[in-house]
């Protein structure tokens, strides 16, 4: 195993990550259509019940959105760490097993079919069900002939994702009205956090805390999987059963992120990598570290999405890929050189 094997949780590194997240949240609050100085923010916090428009906008609209963006990022980070652990593959990302395709179908139906139900909750519920359902479909398809190996799961994931993508495209064409609705679906697939109300924010906070709570018990198993199936078995782990459980947990975590943030690209891939470089490969530390890093990344990118081209807003997924890509490449090159 790696040199970090024996280390404990490394509180100093976590403190650093917490500071980075705090900085990212502050950036998210400052950035926007109009930049707000920290002093302006402080006044808004002090004056949260007042009638001043800017203060109210910061408190009622921007603050919940920044918090929601950070929590979506945390969920993606945790989901990504689980998927990379299960597949023992650094290219594994949370949308690998069809979650994005399934979520997009759910969202397409929610956005284009008049269901006569409140829009926001239906969109979140259907995209969650789509994302999680797609993963069940992949597990079912790959497991038809007994225990699926990792390659079998991945191939089933690719096939299901292709099918779901086609169904989604067909639904978009068949259900859309003539004018602008397609744009709504397209922009959803590019990711973006909608400012939640207090109830929505509370649900998201519960989901994020719950995601960490159900993921942390997977840490030991994910570590053992990294040793190879035989070793893991020798340590008392049934790799097949564990993989299945971990994938379902990971997919549920990602589905929660998708329900609140659409298809935000790249964060689930890079957050665990950065976490591994900073904290090491032990999942007990890596899972919360990935959450912190994902949260910071999405909070910053969401701020950039709102501030780069005012009054327009760039879909969040484009920003995460555009900023995350080069950032990740620089880290990667440094690491390769070292």
């Amino acid at each position: 195993m790696t040199p970090q094997t024996g280390r404990r949780l490394q509180p100093r590194r976590f403190l650093l990550l917490a500071l980075v997240l705090a900085g990212a949240l502050l950036f998210g609050l400052v950035a926007g259509h109009e930049w707000a100085s920290p002093a302006r923010l402080a006044r808004a916090f002090a004056n949260s019940g007042g009638h001043d428009m800017t203060s109210q906008l910061l408190m009622v609209w921007r603050l919940p959105r920044v918090l929601a963006a950070a929590m979506v990022g945390a969920l993606l980070g945790v989901g990504g760490a689980i998927f990379q652990g299960v597949f023992r593959n650094p290219l594994a990302e949370p949308y690998l097993l069809g979650a994005s395709g399934g979520a997009a179908i759910g969202a397409t139906i929610a956005l284009l079919v008049p269901l006569g139900l409140p829009g926001g909750p239906v969109l979140a519920a259907l995209s969650f069900l789509g994302a999680w359902g797609a993963t069940w479909l992949v597990l079912g398809a790959a497991g038809l002939q007994g225990r699926p190996d990792t390659a079998g799961l991945l191939l089933a994931g690719v096939a299901v994702a292709a099918m779901l993508g086609a169904v989604r495209s067909f639904l978009m064409l068949a259900l859309s009205d003539d004018t602008v609705n397609l744009q709504v679906v397209l922009s959803w697939t590019l990711g973006g956090v909608q400012t939640p109300d207090a109830g929505g924010l509370a649900i998201l906070a519960l989901l994020t805390a719950g995601a960490l709570a159900v993921s942390l018990p997977l840490a030991r198993g994910l570590d053992l999987l990294g040793l190879g199936d035989d070793q893991a078995f020798a340590f008392g782990l049934d790799p097949a059963r564990f993989e299945r459980r971990a994938v379902l947990v990971g997919a549920a975590v990602v589905a929660a992120a998708v329900a609140f943030g659409g298809l935000v690209a790249f964060v689930g891939l890079i957050a665990p990598h950065i976490g591994r470089w900073l904290i090491g490969p032990r999942h007990r530390a890596l899972l919360p570290a990935s959450a912190l890093i994902g949260a910071a990344l999405v909070a910053v990118c969401d701020g950039v999405a709102r501030a780069a081209l005012p009054p327009a807003e760039i879909p969040l997924g484009l920003v995460t890929a555009l900023i995350g890509g080069p950032f990740f490449l620089i880290l990667l090159m440094r690491r390769l050189r070292a």
Partner: protein
């Protein structure tokens, strides 16, 4: 009333049927379409396929409904066109279905791949295709003249366009000097972004012609940040869509901060009037203008002057 006027314009005996005026016009005619192509039309077209609701409405406004032999799935107005054979729509356009109608003129707009899918095969089949653009309301009226020339109904095209222009002039003459600031949302937000009508589109032009000015003038894309819309605090928030979707939007965090929402000036407008660039747009402009005049009178100077004085639309 505007609908009645429009109906009278259609019914007006401009040419005495397809024959008389077309016969007077020398054939073949050469027209320049919206993208600058020179199109030669050999004979007065008798089998016309207008693709997209806007082009069908324009052709119908010139009294050409009887000569229309096919429409696409989204064409739902005027009623006499809904029973025409369908040549595609949701999933694209069928060259076969179009060819089966033996058209002698196709009118398209560069949307949903129509140009790329249809111009080349139709040209090979010898069917003239004219492409119409609608970048502002003036161009929409120009499209009526262009269709008139291409179909041998030039006088009718001129008359209908002039009648609509006269109505626009009347609206312009009544527009108060102080224009309320507007934002129009053209779709319900799916992931937090607000789709808005940009100033440099025909919808944006219609809003200005109705007597408003844009609260957000610089938008690179149609997706605005709700934060920007809320901060712009327009005098009137327009929503092109259903009332229940507007209510759902107003319930989302932040939107109640808008003066327009709090003071009852978040209104729906009809999508067909503001998102289909046809003759009904003038109806929409007249209706919106009447409501905006009410705002100016009720709010006096204060409301309109308060919002972003630096972003005045010329």
């Amino acid at each position: 009333m505007p609908l009645l006027l429009a109906a009278m314009a259609w019914l007006a005996p401009g040419a005495g049927g397809a024959g008389a005026a077309a016969a007077r016009q020398p054939w073949p005619v050469q027209v320049t379409d919206g993208i600058g192509r020179q199109i030669a039309i050999a004979r007065p077209p008798q089998r016309i396929i207008p693709i997209f609701a806007s082009n069908a409405e324009l052709a119908a406004a010139l009294g050409l409904s009887d000569r229309i032999v096919g429409v696409e799935a989204y064409t739902r107005f005027p009623p006499e066109l809904t029973s025409k054979p369908q040549i595609g729509g949701r999933l694209g356009f069928s060259v076969d279905a179009i060819a089966a109608q033996r058209p002698d003129l196709l009118i398209v707009t560069p949307a949903r791949q129509a140009m790329h899918q249809l111009i080349d095969p139709m040209t090979r089949l010898g069917v003239p295709v004219i492409v119409l653009l609608a970048r502002d309301v003036g161009e929409v009226l120009g499209n009526l003249r262009l269709i008139g020339q291409a179909t041998g109904e030039a006088a009718k095209g001129e008359a209908v366009a002039a009648a609509l222009q006269a109505r626009l002039d009347k609206v312009a003459a009544m527009t108060p000097a102080r224009r309320p600031s507007l934002v129009m949302l053209t779709g319900r937000p799916g992931n937090g972004l607000a789709l808005i009508a940009r100033a440099d589109t025909y919808t944006g032009d219609a809003m200005v012609r109705a007597g408003g000015r844009h609260a957000l003038v610089r938008s690179v894309v149609a997706q605005a940040s709700p934060e920007a819309v809320i901060a712009a605090d327009p005098d009137v928030l327009l929503f092109a869509g259903r009332g229940e979707d507007l209510e759902a939007l107003k319930a989302q965090p932040g939107w109640k901060l808008l003066r327009a929402v709090r003071e009852g000036r978040a209104w729906t407008v009809t999508r067909a009037e503001f998102l289909i660039p046809g003759p009904r747009t003038v109806d929409g402009i007249e209706k919106l203008a009447a409501r905006l005049r009410g705002v100016t009178m009720e709010g006096g100077q204060a409301g309109a002057a308060a919002a972003n004085p630096g972003q005045d639309q010329p």
